[in-house]
Amino acid sequence: MIARVLAALGAVAAVTAPLWVANPYHLHVLIMAGIFTILALSLNLLLGYTGQLSLGHAAFFGIGAYTSALLTMPPLEWSFWVALPAAALAAGLAGWAIGRLALKLRGAYFVLVTISFAGVISLVSVNWMELTNGPLGIPGVPAPSVGPWTLRTKTAYWYLVLAMAVLAYLVCRRLVYSRLGRALVALRENEPLAESVGIDGTHYLVLAAVVSAAMAGVGGSLYAHYTRFVSPEVFLFSYTVTMVIMVIAGGQGTLAGPVVGALLFTALPEALREAMAWQWQLLAYGVVLIVCVFFLPRGIVPTVTGAARPAWTEGGLFKTRRGSGSRE
């Protein structure tokens, strides 16, 4: 019940945000939080539900950003509304490649392949000057336009990001409660058993990887058209780390966890910027992270909402779908 009320309040607050947010800077933070929500949700699909940790997620984000940017710049100058799904497609393709290559592996090995993949993509973006303009980056990425209006103002962009975030959430929800979702959870909890009843592990994991990557690609496209500048820094490992923090600290395997994590860890660096001199900000960030993990090792949302139910129970918004099995 409380969950429903909270969710409703959140929805109202989100939709009316431009009205009550104090100044454009805060709206900027909200927009970034929205983009990262999409990214965190996408990572959560892979991490929280399949149990496989992808530490190369920034690669999908970056591929989406570059694809969208390149398609909307001269000489192609396609519309944003074509570039966005194209970005999702490109990233999804990369996700498929990773899935097919890597998902015969599990655990730590999968982690390392994803890191390596992201590393290679990053180096390609820096060195392949003809395509990506290398380290000089792509400045002047156009803002999206709806007919004659350009979505240049923050308010307009906020609604775009909000719409996309809600869409992402709904997609995740649909997936999790579908046959695919149940198959994924079964695979996560006990793979040999699941396979013995006919669930093809690799097939479902690849599917999850594709959707997860495509969603991250959407996040990348939104980012590119908001900041209007794309450079190889989008492949920085720190972006992946940020997403991982958001998912795990927020609560993996829940639907609300990534949302909470994204909001919190987008706001945190900005809050630290206000609160203390630049020398101490990052140190404080690291300490906050350690403390958070220490006192809330299962993540914020699962801890706040209480006990973990058995994995197969149909849960609500905040219920965790993570069982007691540890993943090695």
Binding site: H28, M32, M129, G134, L136, R152, T227, F229, R273, W278
Partner: protein, 390 residues
């Protein structure tokens, strides 16, 4: 009624008197806010901090002389964490939350490029103090004014000295960033124009420490000169590793930011015989048009205990603050559009030399570009010398 009137009148008089005194003294006036974004953490934290230190000296000197328009300058410093996304966020915060009248940013070209849409969106003048990418002043952003030289300008500034160096064939070793690649193009064009042929061009990652592979390749090229564009740390490594591999070649570094005295300290004898393109010479302040100012800056820097090696970058912070202060003075108020218009009229002396902006970029939307002086120094027997060709 009459009684209260008798009470009110003196109060009103007192109030008016106080108000008059307040206006006359002007001491309580709010400071003028100037924003500054630099990489204060991350891989290039040292450089960002040097610029910050120079800016702080500039600010303190301006304030010591009474400030601008009778008001002190308040320097609001933000960290862009060597990340373009953070640069954009920091710009947003300074412009919207802190209401700065003008900004100085961002050291790295990609950080500056990421912040530029913000200054155009909100209409805030931006003084670029270090970034070297040509595109910064060519993007048609009329709010951008750069005091540092893009690579082409550096190369042209070096042209006159090239004849004396007598370069017949050169190799290039550059950091794989916009800066390094821009330098390869810019200096390459000038060198080829003066009859030199190009040998091997190699790049290295910003964080690479082992450059032996590249040096091994360069060794067999048959060139007489190796041009190097990268940070002072990597130049140190190149010098040391070149010596270890017995690469007997004249080395010329560009970029203007690396401090040769740091090279002497860390690379020792490996640094001898190398040349360095610089924009500020703390060892030879007399080479600058306002020698007294240059010397005073060097002295103040050392008095504050700042590392001497940072001077070759720190001066940019000072000159940026001086430029901003002058623009505000000309504008007569700390209003953004007025300051931007005033920047075109700035003609002030910085530590490097005179600062004046010329039009650069597409017609109607030009940015401002300064033409700083370029110098060449040589390291001989562990000492820095100013070759006679100047």
């Amino acid at each position: 009624m009459r009684r209260s009137m008798r009470f009110v009148a003196p109060v009103v008089v007192l109030f008016l008197a106080a108000l008059a005194c307040y206006q006359i003294s002007g001491a309580q006036q709010a400071p003028i806010k100037v924003g500054m974004i630099q990489p204060l953490s991350g891989p290039v934290a040292a450089s960002g901090n040097y610029v910050r230190m120079g800016a702080e000296i500039g600010r303190d000197w301006v304030n010591a002389k009474g400030g601008v328009l009778g008001r002190k300058i308040d320097l609001l410093i933000e960290d862009n964490k060597s990340d373009p996304k953070e640069a954009a966020s920091a710009a947003e915060k300074l412009i919207v939350r802190d209401n700065v009248a003008v900004m100085i940013c961002c050291w790295g070209s990609s950080m500056t490029l990421a912040a530029m849409p913000k200054v155009e969106e909100y209409g805030v003048p931006l003084v670029v103090e270090t970034s070297s990418a040509a595109s910064i002043t060519r993007r048609g952003n009329p709010w951008v004014f750069r005091i540092s030289p893009p690579s082409e300008m550096e190369a042209i500034g070096l042209e006159s000295k090239l004849k004396t160096l007598g370069i017949k064939k050169y190799d290039f070793l550059a950091v794989n960033t916009d800066w390094g690649r821009g330098a390869v193009t810019a200096f390459g064009d000038i060198l080829k124009k003066n009859g030199a042929s190009q040998g091997v061009v190699e790049f290295m990652d910003q964080s690479a420490t082992d450059l032996n592979a590249q040096i091994t390749k360069i060794k067999t090229s048959g060139s007489d000169t190796l041009m190097v564009t990268t940070s002072v740390e990597q130049i140190t490594l190149i010098l040391k590793q070149a010596q270890e591999q017995r690469l007997e070649r004249r080395i010329v570094t560009t970029g203007g930011s690396s401090s040769p005295s740091q090279l002497i300290k860390h690379a020792g004898p490996a640094a001898n015989g190398s040349y360095h393109v610089l924009v500020f010479l703390p060892w030879f302040p007399e080479a600058h048009p306002d020698a007294k100012l240059a010397k005073a800056f060097v002295d103040e820097w050392q008095k504050r205990g700042f590392p001497f090696d940072g001077l070759t970058e720190g001066f940019r912070g000072h000159d940026a603050v001086v430029t901003v202060a002058e623009a505000i003075k000309i504008a007569g108020k700390d209003e953004r559009r007025a300051i931007r218009d005033a920047l075109w009229k700035v003609n002030v002396m910085g530590t490097n030399g005179p600062i004046r902006f010329e039009k650069d970029g597409p017609a109607g939307k030009e940015s401002g570009q300064n033409k700083p002086l370029i110098f060449l120094v040589e390291i001989k027997d562990g000492q820095l010398t100013l070759p006679k060709m100047q």
